[in-house]
């Protein structure tokens, strides 16, 4: 059955700071960068920042992993006169596109008129993301994980990748192809952190950090901020750009995934998965669409194997066939035709977290908006539907389908 809120809201504004290599944004503050992203998103939408009356966060309103956004502070900083919706999804980056569904809830409930979703990320030397799990005193729960030396996200993700390799014969060559195929999309992107084309030899020479994963299988660590504005369709028509219509959106997941790699108790086949099957099935049911209907897929890529497992969970290929799907070139974007390769759907035409920048999922939303507007740097020809995913991590994870107006 179609989603009750289908096509009732749209993303109308996108804004971002420069993308800085980890630690290089100082002496800017995190609120300085968040403010720039919000002001730019408002300018892009053609509204005043004082029109914003809704805040829809994810990651438990986290700004990065150690700071928190606070609506009152943002109002004080940016001068919004009133707020009538202020809410967040729980857990972490898995909720990124789900925050647009949360904004939709506030908008269709007439709680607010323009909702902003923002993420800012800044790592100071003492705030290294990759050791967040390891530096915290272990909670009673985490005392069943951290003593094993599974302290960084890369360690945790490698355990899932290893199981996938065992069950399905998946190869490190496929992980390399994911990095190379998406790297091929950044050479023409001025803001991308990694622009040089990547060869297989260079990938194979990349240092092994958590076997089977190499440094290049890990996403970038970026400082910066991204904000997007969501509003109702009637207001969207008065905004500056063609609306990126919110066609389907879901967050959540099932208990077998749960806390995921912070738990490691997932039964097969959930263990060697992205945990996205539940929200994938929901957005397909909401929309009546399937993977083959997507014109472009912006897939959260904190670690390359998680792209492969999401391709399976969303049904771009069958479970266990991700290796062959990727190695047949099907995630590549062909600039000459503006289409996919070998019957596939182009993945991460912006280069993704692996190559462009890592702002905890927000760059994928921005690319989805630009694709359905028709203004993307690596534009997919006649793009009508863009899939955006968030996570994979502890629930909720989330999924979004944007449609061109």
């Amino acid at each position: 059955m179609a989603w009750a809120n289908q096509d009732k809201t749209a993303i109308v504004g996108i804004g971002a700071t420069d993308y800085y290599v980890r630690g290089k944004s100082w002496p800017r503050t995190i609120n300085d960068m968040a403010g720039e992203a919000i002001l730019k998103a408002c300018a892009d939408a053609g509204i005043s920042v004082k029109d914003i009356d809704g805040f829809s966060y994810y990651s438990t309103a986290g700004a990065g992993y150690l700071d928190k956004f606070d609506t009152a502070s943002l109002m004080e900083t940016l001068g919004m006169p009133n707020v009538s919706f202020s809410a967040t999804l729980t857990s972490g980056g898995g909720g990124c596109p789900g925050a647009i569904g949360l904004a939709t809830a506030g908008l269709v409930n007439e709680d607010c008129k323009y909702a902003v979703t923002v993420m800012a990320l800044q790592q100071l030397p003492q705030h290294r993301l990759g050791v967040v799990f390891g530096s915290a005193a272990p909670s009673p729960e985490n005392s069943f994980l951290q003593p094993s030396g599974l302290v960084g996200p890369g360690h945790l993700m490698s355990v899932l990748a290893r199981r996938h390799m065992h069950l399905y014969g998946t190869t490190q060559d496929a992980f390399g192809e994911i990095v190379m195929a998406t790297r091929a999309n950044t050479h023409n992107r001025p803001k991308a952190v990694r622009k040089a084309p990547l060869t297989k030899e260079e990938y194979d020479a990349s240092v092994m950090l958590a076997d089977p994963l190499r440094r290049l299988d890990f996403c970038l660590e970026t400082d910066g901020a991204v904000a997007v504005i969501t509003t109702t369709m009637d207001r969207a028509k008065d905004c500056q750009h063609k609306p990126a219509v919110v066609h389907a959106c879901a967050h959540g997941g099932q208990r077998e995934w749960g806390r995921a790699f912070a738990w490691m108790g997932m039964p097969d086949p959930h263990f060697a998965s992205s945990g996205h099957k539940f929200t994938a099935d929901r957005v397909w049911a909401q929309s009546g669409l399937s993977a083959k209907d997507m014109d472009v897929a912006l897939i959260y890529d904190h670690f390359s194997p998680m792209v492969l497992m999401q391709l399976e969970d969303y049904g771009f290929c069958e479970k266990g066939e991700g290796n062959d799907y990727v190695l047949s070139g099907k995630i590549r974007y062909d600039a000459a035709t503006g289409k996919g390769v070998n019957g596939g759907v182009p993945v991460n035409t912006h280069g993704g977290n692996l190559n462009e920048a890592y702002i905890i999922g927000m760059t994928h939303i921005v690319e989805g908006v630009e694709q359905v507007r028709g203004t993307a740097i690596n534009q997919v020809k006649d793009a009508e539907f863009a899939l955006v995913s968030g996570g994979p991590a502890s629930l909720p994870v989330s999924s979004l389908i944007l449609r061109s107006a």
Partner: protein, 146 residues
């Protein structure tokens, strides 16, 4: 594709760098470990195992727990080969394993495995518990290849 890396012996992380905390739900597990007794949290009503221990059984909602003594053997479900000690970033070969505990279907532990070269660890490998003294007088279950 590049050749597999020869890492050499899989080491246990040094116990003196490891801390844990407990709460009333998890403490019986760690008290048993002090006596070198491997247990897992079992629902006293329906028999379902759950790890880490939590307040309620997710199957039947009972909060009655039992702590059976397990055989201490397990099977490697998955693993990762790591090469830096997380405490100081120095070169150090250790292999975190996720194991299925014999005698406690559905219950897993995350630990280190030793007694094997890191490159020879395999999913499906049989292991047996090996106790490591850690900070605060606690004892951590690790595993040794059999």
């Amino acid at each position: 594709m590049s050749q597999p890396i020869q890492y050499g012996p899989a080491l246990l992380l040094p116990g003196e760098q490891i801390r844990i905390t407990t709460n009333p739900d998890t403490e019986p597990f760690w008290e048993a470990a002090k006596e070198h007794r491997l247990t897992a949290c079992q629902c006293a009503k329906c028999g379902h195992f759950r790890m880490p221990p939590t307040a309620y059984c997710p199957e039947c909602s009972s909060n009655e727990k039992s702590w059976p003594t397990l055989p201490g053997t397990a099977t490697v479900f998955s693993y990762v080969v790591c090469n830096k000690n997380p405490a100081n970033a120095e070169d150090y070969i250790y292999v975190p394993v996720v194991v299925d505990l014999d005698g406690a279907p559905g219950a897993r532990l995350n630990a280190n495995v030793t007694g094997v070269n890191a490159e020879d660890v395999r999913i499906g490998m049989k292991v047996t518990v090996e106790w490591t003294e850690i900070q605060g007088g606690w004892v951590l279950p690790n595993f040794r290849a059999v």
